[in-house]
Amino acid sequence: MERLSPKAEEILESLWIATVEGNEVGCLLTALQVAPGDDQLVELEGRAYVETRGERLYLRKEGRPEAEMTVRRHRLAERLMMDILDIQGDEGNEQACAFEHLLHQGVDTKICTLLNHPTTCPHGKPIPPGTCCEEARQKGSPGIVPMTELKSGEAGEIAYLAASDGKKMQKLMSMGVLPGSDLNLVQSFPSYIFKVGHSQFAVDDSLAREIYIRRPVK
């Protein structure tokens, strides 16, 4: 099935927020700034996601999953903008609105995993869980975590090094602590001790926080 246009997605999103999250029964067409016969409306009606009754637009049962995912993508985009890219305020909101439409099947899963399956957006509203979140919950192990989150004895693959200090990262890299290597956490107090290959290393928590580990899929 072809992808919805960004404008259609915006409508679905607003509808879902107003009717599923909020208490409204439907949305006034004027509030959504659409008129009967607009392209985006025709597009949605064609898939039986929505129906127009009088002056109001209603979300149909068939449209709910899609609408939910649209909201999810928007809020994930907000998280990404504000937490990772550090773009705050209106600028962040705006960028998130543009960005969400790029997050389609696959990409949103990856970002969700990268963000470690967040449950709320930066404004505190819930992010509808995707299948990846359910899977992670069932495994009890969210995807990529800093080394500080591992338990002693746990193993994983080094996903990436979050470089805040180039020299430190270089040191780690030259010792062979590189993305793609398997890592085994031996101990986490008073220092983090881990094994890569046949060598053991000790680092303090400031450095451990910057080594991200991909937990193995069980």
Binding site: L161, A163, D165, G166, K167, K168, M169, Q170, K171, L172, M173, S174, M175, G176, L178, P179, G180, V186, Q187, F189, P190, S191, I193, V196, G197, H198, S199, Q200, F201, A202, V203, D204, S206, L207
Partner: protein, 652 residues
């Protein structure tokens, strides 16, 4: 002879810490360098000679390095050798167990155009771990001679010697990186016109990674016009690859070395955990590690150094040998043959070169320092210190240091002068200054410690008071220093070498070299100090100084006679402590006075040698500030402790 005219061919040893470079050096040259199982203890380059097929080679052993792009001081020293020397061959020594991790550096070295021989050492341990390594295949893949060795058992020595003697540098096909990186390298390499030790490829990569020393080299050898063009390109590339240049280079090297190792290493699974691993785990776990540390301190430091070294050995050498057999004939001989009074005083008087200088150095200090170095070397060889470092890291962070600083601190209990030199292995200036100050203040050296333990153990409770005060001052001053001192906060990371049984030869060699350097360093200073004291006494100036300091000494509740101990303390810390010893044996000190004197003296200014080392390492301004600070603090603490002890009547 023509051989003499030609410069001697050089062979340089490089590699990560703990791969057996120093052992290899010893085996090749027959000389003894200190072999350490602690990253960052050898900062110097050792030089020796060896003869293979009638050619005499100079062998250079460098401090451990992880990459040819240096980060720490040791790495800088090692890299400097590679940049300056023109070796016949460079032996890259690697640990067979970690071949995959160390091969990227081999690639770097080969890429730099150096004449590399890859020495895969510690093959026996690798075999024990179930690894099988096809060295022939590796040699074919990598294109330089590969020699497998077990250096501690001299296996592979003759093959290695042959490889050195037969080495002929062949131009090497470059390892190819990703096309984007290649394009930048080629663009850059073509612009380099100067004559560099490293290949243009390697130089370009180092420039992209902002290597300061290489930048300076390039600035010095390129014309102004070329230079500005070069700098434009560098800026360009650095900007374009700001996100992940280092990472990309590392990952590409890793994948190249992975290809080289295909079908070279086969691993057989093993299940049983060897005892050394268990011991290692115990040493690293705070619950079992703390008792282990206490055991080490009690048996190693207190019983062996304090009891055996400072007690039994000193009694024997000083009490029996010197007092009964050596001193009487020497003094008699001098009395009959030396007529001039001043000369007799200089040689055998109260502060004479013989009586004070040599007797103290040989009979009092040497046994103590010797036993300390023995314990230190023993622990060092087992690999205990890195485990201790990670254990204390959290506490050390509070005092502005990282766990790494545990080595200079522990070494400070042996010889604070040596320890001050070792502080240069710490990474930030801030850490170095704090460590230097703490060494000057609260860490007693073994000579002093021995005498003080001997002194205080006769008075119940005194030792505990002394220990508590030292610990408090150490932590408090460190804590305040970490709050006040500006600068980068330390980060702790360290490779943990496997724990192993100490090897007799290593321990013996380490102890001997340390004792030797200590002895060579202190004997002249002892003599110098005796000479100064004698001169002051002859001139009558000693009374003047003692008189001037006397009010301060009296203010902290000590008898005036103790002043000379403090004056001696200027010359060597242990002189002062030994001076107290004399007072104590003459019954001139009450328990409170003894404790106060011991505390003040321990805190008081470092010995002359340590001060000179501080000046050398930290500069005059910093060391003078530390000197003043320590002096004032020592007497203030003494004063406060005296008041406290008198008012509580804790030690009557």
């Amino acid at each position: 002879m023509s051989e003499q005219q030609q410069p001697q061919p050089k062979v340089v040893l490089v590699g990560n810490p703990n791969v057996g470079k120093s052992v290899l050096f010893n085996v090749l040259t027959g000389a003894y360098t200190t072999v350490s199982n602690y990253p960052g203890t050898s900062v110097e380059v050792s030089r020796g000679h060896c003869e293979i097929d009638d050619v005499n080679y100079e062998i250079l052993d460098t401090p451990g390095m992880y990459s040819i792009m240096p980060i720490t001081e040791e790495e800088r020293v090692a890299r400097q050798i590679l940049l300056e020397e023109t070796p016949h061959a460079v032996l890259h020594v690697v640990d067979a167990r970690n071949l995959d991790r160390m091969l990227p550096m081999t690639l770097q070295l080969i890429e730099a155009g150096l004449p590399i021989i890859l020495v895969v050492n510690i093959l026996d341990e690798a075999k024990r771990l179930g690894m099988q390594i096809d060295l022939k295949k590796l040699q074919k893949n990598i294109g330089v001679p590969v020699i497998g060795t077990v250096m501690k058992r001299r296996q592979g020595l003759s093959e290695l010697q042959q490889a050195i003697s037969a080495y002929a540098s062949v131009p090497h096909k470059p390892f190819i990186y990703g096309s984007d990186l290649e394009r930048d390298i080629v663009r850059m390499a073509a612009l380099l016109k100067g004559d560099y030790r490293f290949s243009n490829r390697a130089t370009s990569l180092l420039l992209f990674q902002k290597d300061n020393e290489v930048e300076n080299l390039v600035e010095a050898s390129e014309s102004a016009e070329d230079l500005s063009q070069l700098q434009d390109v560098i800026r360009d590339v650095i900007f374009e690859r700001r996100a992940d240049l280092h990472l990309q280079i590392s990952l590409e090297r890793k994948s190249i070395s992975k290809r080289m190792l295909e079908d070279v290493v086969t691993q057989v699974e093993q299940t049983e955990e060897p005892f050394a691993e268990k011991l290692s785990r115990w040493a690293m776990n705070p619950w079992s590690g703390t008792p282990i540390l206490l055991l080490v301190i009690y048996f190693g430091l207190y019983q062996f150094v304090g009891g055996f070294g400072a007690g039994t050995l000193v009694d024997f050498i000083e009490g029996s040998i010197f007092e009964e057999y050596i001193n009487p004939p020497v003094v008699d001989y001098l009395r009959t043959h030396v007529s001039a009074d001043w000369l007799f005083e200089l040689l055998a008087g109260e502060y004479g070169l013989w009586t004070l200088g040599i007797r103290y150095a040989v009979a009092l200090i040497l046994p103590i320092v010797g036993t300390f170095f023995l314990i230190f070397s023993l622990l060092e060889d087992t690999g205990y210190f890195p485990r201790l470092a990670l254990l204390v890291d959290r506490i050390f962070k509070r005092i502005g240091l990282s766990g790494r600083a545990v080595i200079p601190m522990v070494l400070g209990f042996g010889c604070a002068t040596m320890a001050t030199m070792v502080t240069r292995t710490l990474e930030t200036t801030r850490e170095r200054i704090i460590a230097t100050a703490l060494l000057a203040l609260a860490i007693p050296c073994s000579a002093q410690l021995g005498v003080i333990l001997g002194l205080l153990s006769e008075v119940p409770g005194a030792l505990s008071v002394w220990m508590v005060v030292m610990l408090l001052v150490f932590l408090l001053v460190g804590f305040l220093a970490s709050k006040v001192m500006p600068g980068e906060h330390p980060v702790f990371y360290m490779e943990l070498p496997p724990m192993r049984l100490p090897q007799f030869r290593n321990v013996a060699v380490k102890t001997m070299t340390r004792m030797q350097s200590y002895f060579l360093e202190i004997l002249p200073l002892f003599l110098f100090a005796s000479f100064i004291l004698w001169g002051l006494k002859m001139l009558g100036a000693l009374e003047g100084i003692v008189g001037a300091l006397a009010p301060v000494v009296r203010a902290i509740g000590l008898p005036v006679e103790a002043t000379s101990a403090f004056v001696f303390g200027f010359f060597r810390r242990d002189f002062g402590a030994a001076g107290l010893y004399d007072l104590q044996s003459n019954g001139l000190l009450t328990p409170t006075q003894l404790t106060v004197a011991a505390v003040t003296l321990t805190l008081f200014v470092p010995c002359i040698a340590q001060f000179l080392m501080m000046k050398k390492e930290r500069g005059f301004r910093v060391s003078l500030s530390i000197f003043m600070f320590v002096s004032v603090l020592a007497f203030s603490c003494g004063w406060a402790l005296n008041k406290f002890l008198l008012s509580t009547g804790l030690l009557l």
